[in-house]
């Protein structure tokens, strides 16, 4: 773990403690994946739908 990674994780943990944001938790989970499989990579496709969908489009 380099300095940037450590600082990033400390900042995220602070945010989780204060706010408990699901997005922050998700990032921490993503950062635990050191050897992503093809399935992990394929799953990334489902995480970014077209922007219109957020507005019911």
């Amino acid at each position: 773990m380099n300095e940037t990674t450590a600082a990033f994780l400390v900042a995220l943990i602070t945010l989780v403690t204060k706010y408990g944001i699901p997005g922050v938790i998700q990032i921490l989970q993503d950062w635990k994946v050191d050897n992503p499989t093809i399935e992990d990579i394929e799953a990334l496709k489902l995480r970014v739908p077209r922007p219109e969908t957020y507005f019911g489009g």
């Binding site: 945010l15 706010y19 922050v24 998700q26 922007p51 957020y54």
Partner: protein
């Protein structure tokens, strides 16, 4: 109300960290081996996805509350579509590179991740002020 405001501030902070992460990962991937490049690419794209989800989720809430105009919605969708396209291209290239370890794929992947980073930055720069008002 106070908790909602803190959550919105935190989303903004999350976006800043996502951008920092993009830059750090984008630089780091150039020098590392195949597994590290795949892991770095995965973490970078996953973080970008979370930032995108957080920002559009918040924008959609604002829109439902009447706090975001049709113009802002349209412009957000325009920037979001650019990001969406670059993101899915990068995910395809990451999947390809993970299977082949081809040097040409690696070069394309690095370019694609830089593009994703740039387009996320453009979108968040536009959306940030509106999210901060929430």
């Amino acid at each position: 109300m106070m908790r909602m405001r803190k959550q919105k501030q935190a989303i903004g902070i999350l976006m800043v960290f996502a951008l920092m992460l993009f830059i750090a990962q984008g630089c780091a991937t150039v020098q590392n081996n195949h597994n590290q490049i795949v892991a770095g690419g995965y973490k970078t794209l996953a973080t970008a996805a979370t930032a995108y989800e957080s920002a559009f989720g918040a924008l959609a809430d604002l829109y439902k509350q009447g706090l975001v105009s049709e113009d802002i919605k349209a412009k957000s969708i325009e920037y979001g579509t650019h990001f969406w396209s670059a993101y899915h291209t990068a995910v395809e290239l990451l999947a390809s590179y993970a299977k082949t370890s081809d040097a040409a794929d690696e070069a394309k992947l690095n370019i694609a991740i830089i593009e994703v980073s740039k387009l996320l930055g453009v979108f968040l720069e536009y959306a940030g002020p509106y999210l901060a008002k929430k």
